[in-house]
Symmetry: D2
Subunit: 272 residues, 4 copies
Amino acid sequence: MRLMFLGDIVGRSGRQAVIQRLPGLVERYRLDFVVINGENSAGGFGITEEICQDVLDAGADVVTLGNHSWDQREALVFIERQPRLLRPVNYPAGTPGRGANLFVARNGARVLVMNVMGRIYMDALDDPFAAVARQLDACPLGEQCDAVVIDMHAEATSEKQALGHFVDGRASLVVGTHTHVPTADHMILPGGTAYMSDAGMCGDYDSVLGMDKEEPVQRFTSKIPRSRFEPANGEATLSGVCVEIDEMTGLATDVAPLRLGGKLAPALPGFW
Amino acid sequence: MRLMFLGDIVGRSGRQAVIQRLPGLVERYRLDFVVINGENSAGGFGITEEICQDVLDAGADVVTLGNHSWDQREALVFIERQPRLLRPVNYPAGTPGRGANLFVARNGARVLVMNVMGRIYMDALDDPFAAVARQLDACPLGEQCDAVVIDMHAEATSEKQALGHFVDGRASLVVGTHTHVPTADHMILPGGTAYMSDAGMCGDYDSVLGMDKEEPVQRFTSKIPRSRFEPANGEATLSGVCVEIDEMTGLATDVAPLRLGGKLAPALPGFW
Amino acid sequence: MRLMFLGDIVGRSGRQAVIQRLPGLVERYRLDFVVINGENSAGGFGITEEICQDVLDAGADVVTLGNHSWDQREALVFIERQPRLLRPVNYPAGTPGRGANLFVARNGARVLVMNVMGRIYMDALDDPFAAVARQLDACPLGEQCDAVVIDMHAEATSEKQALGHFVDGRASLVVGTHTHVPTADHMILPGGTAYMSDAGMCGDYDSVLGMDKEEPVQRFTSKIPRSRFEPANGEATLSGVCVEIDEMTGLATDVAPLRLGGKLAPALPGFW
Amino acid sequence: MRLMFLGDIVGRSGRQAVIQRLPGLVERYRLDFVVINGENSAGGFGITEEICQDVLDAGADVVTLGNHSWDQREALVFIERQPRLLRPVNYPAGTPGRGANLFVARNGARVLVMNVMGRIYMDALDDPFAAVARQLDACPLGEQCDAVVIDMHAEATSEKQALGHFVDGRASLVVGTHTHVPTADHMILPGGTAYMSDAGMCGDYDSVLGMDKEEPVQRFTSKIPRSRFEPANGEATLSGVCVEIDEMTGLATDVAPLRLGGKLAPALPGFW
Ligand SMILES: [Fe+2]
Ligand SMILES: [Fe+2]
Ligand SMILES: [Fe+2]
Ligand SMILES: [Fe+2]
Ligand SMILES: [Fe+2]
Ligand SMILES: [Fe+2]
Ligand SMILES: [Fe+2]
Ligand SMILES: [Fe+2]
């Protein structure tokens, strides 16, 4: 089974790259399932219903979120009617939407997808380890589902790596998001779970986190805001990870980064 | 001019990889200058005089540090007599040792090397941007020196990227350390400075930050320390970045990651 | 009903003040119930079984903890056999000991006591608001119990105040601990809950947080540890809060600070 | 010499209390010098030129700021022409306005006033200890000035206490601001410097930090913003500290809290 995960879409440049390139990737690689983090897709802050639909139309099966989930307040409403949009599963009880859901891939596989937020240097939320364990217990890989994808939206590599090891053998993929920079540590953990600390962003990398670099640099040096943060509008790099999943076990047999377009060195999966 | 920078050496496994592989790399690539971050080389915490000497003997020209600089207290003393060991330049006035120094490479080039610490999610120190600017003003690229290497020891990608843009055109390389995970965003910024958000570590990647994974995972889940953190002892990956520097301008013409051995996908510079 | 709550006991000086003065206070004011935070009672870090017993013998009915709960590892064991020692209720499931318990006061009243930790600028734990609400739902004031005391061990005044308002009318007292400085904002909230942002510490106030001031000052200025933190050994001030609770409603009718001995201006309850 | 310092003015309710009560206090106590923190005086966020003038007209000699200095952007401009408005002295070089200034009190004394920001759990700024030391070296108490007042705008009590001890004997008063809750630890340190960890706020204490309590409580529990923060509009308590300063030494001979009006227990200096 062929799974692709793409990191945080940032602004118009990131959306355009997804809309223009994803359909071709789905076709070229005969992708069975695509997950994309969309927490910065609306001007860098949150997501709107229209943008969410555009991303799904381009070929995403699921859109995940993060600490910017509610920056566009309409997301609090339309997430209730959009089961393909997931917010962090460890938000407080009563939060609109859902943090995990079961989907059917193009090859018929049942895929459990989860979005969970780390707590190190992030907002105070409930335990991501316990939240993930509860979901895995309720829908174990190889029993209630055929693949498990976990988007760990977190700052610290220690917490991401620890979560990877924590679920090793119980998930198909643990991939980090949030730092907006792809890591080069894609690997298959000893128990068979594919892992990559951060998928990077789908955005313009001649920037600071996908935002025009001038304002962030001057804020770091002067400590005074001059203007709003605006997404950088150079060509985006699509950035993410490709995983070949064994349909019998739900575990990963191959993992490779995907980087396409824009400023970063290109990378395509050699095994497909 | 051929420059190599390697990320944080973690424990015995990381030291062994450096000692065994670096001499061959220096020879194979005819490296002119090598910088290695050594803040975790002594059992994961700090550096000793003996280890520092071993790393220099293996072919490093300079060893940099970070938030773990003084974990081995002898470093406070021997750093005064070891000009090739640098601690963060933005430590308080009066801190032992130095944060920047000028060295002569094997090709005769004068190389300014700086170690600076970020402040986002890190200890409270003086402004890294101002500290770096002061050094660059005192020893400008193309005038008092032929190459400038900045090790930005920091957690947040935003701060690292902002520093890269801040010195773009005034440094040969800005490379991050501290997250212990290599990033795949090596690039040459518009002004000619090579950039990579994190060099990764020289350590065992089947771990949490190079440390045996059991204790970190159980601390995240139980919030109770059971034992000390110990370095993981599987085979280390050497991880870092290679930069070809134009001897006329001091700016970068090529940049590529280096990853060798251990769990990570290998990467070697294609341009040498 | 007469309740006294004393803040974090720091080191030998704090313990001596409690042991020497508390019996007299219990007698003089005919206290019905006494709660003391003991998280720094053993050399500034944690608590031992012997010290816990000494504090109970001096007149405390309950000892609460905080982020230093397990600094003395024996606490992980003996807390299981000591129902009068409470650790934060929002620690992960499976943590030794308990975070809330029901006790009988000297006047026969059933008192629910809870220890809960804030998350702002503190370690990542589960939601203190939800954790407290669960306890209050299980044992509502005026039904299953006659008084409710909540020790909110937290850094930020915003989080403490918010918790106070959150439970206003459902608890007899919400009192903060952890900053080691008494606040002067004791009041009865509109719903009848007595509130004080921080009880202060039972320790020597010519210090930094009850610890000898030399090492903290030099760490702030030099960023280099020179020696261990040691409790200051000047005379301690007992610091806390006194609450008169209406036996019919379980709500507060009077609240006043208590400060006795040492460097701080003395304060005694005028209403007893 | 009679000095009064009042903590952060929050919103209209805080301003009204200052404007209505301060002139009477100046007269009643024949105050020689008054400093007020005004960082939240404009709707809870920053200060305007008009509000600054109103506070000065009411009897303040100096208005200090903090992390909210620039919430009203006009402050970046008018601070340049208002020498009685101070922003933190450890802001980056080039920041508009000044962080310390020398004033003449009504008794003719030369008073050095400084505003400095802590770094623990606060924004990353330059070293407050070094910044304060530089000012004190340039204008030593008993030589270039007759009194020194330091407003330490900080979150952590440890950093405030450490600064107090660091300057003990070199300043007349070190008083904290920012937590919006008065502490009860006013004292004269061994070297003669009056100290109080936090002056509290001039605002409505039936609130969260002076802001209407509903939104903060629901944000803590739901993690979703519903509306903007608005200042609470109940009657404000004036909160601060009074210091009697020896005109020969510049050191403190008496210190006492001031709390007047609103929800807090009243406190007036007994020694005047
Ligand atoms: Fe993002
Ligand atoms: Fe994010
Ligand atoms: Fe490191
Ligand atoms: Fe580090
Ligand atoms: Fe404490
Ligand atoms: Fe504490
Ligand atoms: Fe304030
Ligand atoms: Fe503030």
